[in-house]
Amino acid sequence: MVAVAPVLDISDLTVEFDTPEGTVRAVDHVSYSVDAGETLAVVGETGCGKSVTVLAALGLLGAGRIVSGAVTFGGADLLDMPAKKRRRLLGHDLTMVFQNPMTALNPVMTVGRQVAETLLVHEPKMSRGTARDRAIELLAMVGVPQPDVRYNQYPHEFSGGMCQRVVIAMAIANKPRLIVADEPTTAVDVTIQAQLLDLLRVAREETGAAVVMITHDLGVVAEVAERVAVMYAGRVVEMAPVEQIFRSPRHPYTVGLLSCLPRLDRDVSELIPIPGAPPDLRDVARGCPFEPRCEMSAARSACQNTRPPLMPADPNSVSACHFVDEVESWARARRGNVEEAA
């Protein structure tokens, strides 16, 4: 692999929330980076900190506090940057597609004006007429039918899928270098999901943007990503190229995720959770956070007492497991058992 400077580089990011019940460490020393033109998928169960990581990185976190870490975009420090400078990047070089398209749009502003606003904010000299024409072009580009009519409509007159197309139009309006898509297909109909993914792929090809694709859905991962970061309980537990994740995962949690994947004879592509629940993020236990649910650990003392650091597992991947070398044979044996049982 040629060494390219990453577009987005998150390193050692830690985010905490103060709640009445105590401090929640939602993101715990997370590091990942995306290279130009690359698609990185971030997967993990709900609540594992996928959204908080990117929101904190982009300075869009409402509550919550960044305890440590650094985030750079194109080499510039995003966290220490003055808000004004960051605003010039946001929506222009660095854009987001959100999880819930129905609430991501302002209900009392026409859809078209919301798209045009994205253009006008970054090019104040643009005339309103030009912005309008460009917005209509963008709506057409993302597959909104009758874009000149739809321009004047409000979000409640759009379906969820259509709203997401509008959000995508805003995200690609200024030819970004990075698109962060936070579960862009979770809230829409299964039939629409494939269309939206296609749209994102086309958008990415046209803009040459790198993509961070946050998702629950390993089907989506297989389809769009080049590299995968697996998160568990606020941390990255494994990161590897996509073929390798599917072929030979190097963390027991990833193995669990993959075995929940539907086989060809089933048609649900949603993750079926691994038995047990993620730990309470309030009490930072000493050992491996996955230990209570880990089938491979067998209550070994290293798992219970020492937190496994994220370490290279092989030339292409990193994994946070004390017994990373055992994962492959364990997974094979486990698969054998499961098939025998079936």
Partner: protein, 315 residues
């Protein structure tokens, strides 16, 4: 929209009829003879007899109602039992005064409430917000008559900035005179409602600032000023419109205490003297007007709401 307004106006008819029955029945609830109640305690026997004929008091009760209603529809609500002046004429001179006071008060109220409400929504933990909270509490807790008296003592008697008796000077005839005469009572009412409205603005702005579309706007690189003015405020206005409408409605019904304190010739003071002197025809007229005014304001609020919120369909 036009057909919606017409339909709403038609819906008003039963409400107003119901109110009219109640207003009419008021006279029969008064102890003694309705005719006596209507013409007042000092009336001559001839006047009482005339009233009996005019209202058909010898006819069946239902018929009496329709006779009364017929008069009312011709804007004949009888005569004041005290001054003998026609009630509609009396009200016609008071209504513009009350409307002018209501408008002045609302302008002052909104001018105070919006900046305060916005400031405390945006900086919930600042010293400024604490000061604003205190202001709101005081504005709500201090009785308007007391503020009124303080204003009169301070601004009218000590320094002769404003007249101590507020007359009604129509704004279009003499803006300066209107301002001088209306400012103090309007300030009284305006500060009072600014507390209520500011609270609403704060609550609904805070609510809309936490919505997803605000994050979207920020993610687009919209400066904070635009996020607030274009995205948050417009949404926050929605619930505020309703409360402002209700306040305007209550102002139109006259603001008794303030008008009495400032001797302002609005509906409120008219109602006050009518009640103290048992001038039933005037009370009847005032109540009818208040009902109609409330309905009208409600309609205006609904239309405005639909204009501000595209999700609301006027059907």
């Amino acid at each position: 929209m036009g057909s919606y307004v017409i339909r709403r106006l038609l819906q008003f008819v039963p409400v107003i009829l119901l109110a009219s029955v109640a207003v009419w029945a008021l006279i029969y609830a008064v102890p003694g003879n309705p005719a006596d109640a209507l013409v007042g305690p000092d009336a001559t026997p001839q006047a009482v007899a005339a009233a009996k004929v005019r209202l058909g008091l010898d006819r069946p009760v239902v018929e009496q109602y329709f006779i009364w209603l017929g008069h009312a529809l011709h804007l004949d609500l009888g005569h004041s039992a005290i001054s003998g002046q026609p009630v509609t004429e009396l009200m016609a001179s008071r209504i513009p005064a009350s409307i002018q006071l209501a408008v002045f008060s609302m302008v002052i109220g909104l001018v105070l409430a919006f900046p305060l409400g916005i400031a405390s929504a945006l900086k919930p933990r600042s010293v400024l917000t604490k000061a604003i909270n205190l202001y709101q509490a005081v504005a709500l807790a201090v009785p308007t008559f007391w503020v009124g008296i303080l204003l009169i003592i301070g601004l009218a008697i000590r320094v002769h900035l404003f007249p101590s008796i507020s007359n009604y000077v129509p704004f279009w005839a003499d803006p300066v005179g209107a301002f001088k005469n209306t400012f103090m009572p309007a300030l009284c009412l305006g500060t009072f409602i600014s507390g209520i409205i500011a609270r609403f603005v704060t609550a609904s702005l805070r609510q809309s600032m936490s919505q997803d579309y605000i994050r979207t706007a920020r993610a687009k690189g919209v400066p904070e000023y635009g996020v607030i003015s274009r995205h948050a405020l417009r949404n926050a206005l929605l619930p505020t419109v309703t409360i402002v409408g209700l306040q305007v409605g209550s102002f139109l019904g006259g603001t008794v205490v303030t008008e009495v304190v400032f001797s302002y010739p609005g509906l409120g003071r008219m109602i006050y003297s009518a009640v103290t002197s048992r001038d039933y025809p005037v009370i009847q007229g005032a109540v009818l007007f208040i009902v109609v005014a409330f309905l009208a304001i409600n309609l205006v609020v609904d239309v405005l709401y639909a204009y501000l919120d595209p999700r609301v369909q006027l059907r």
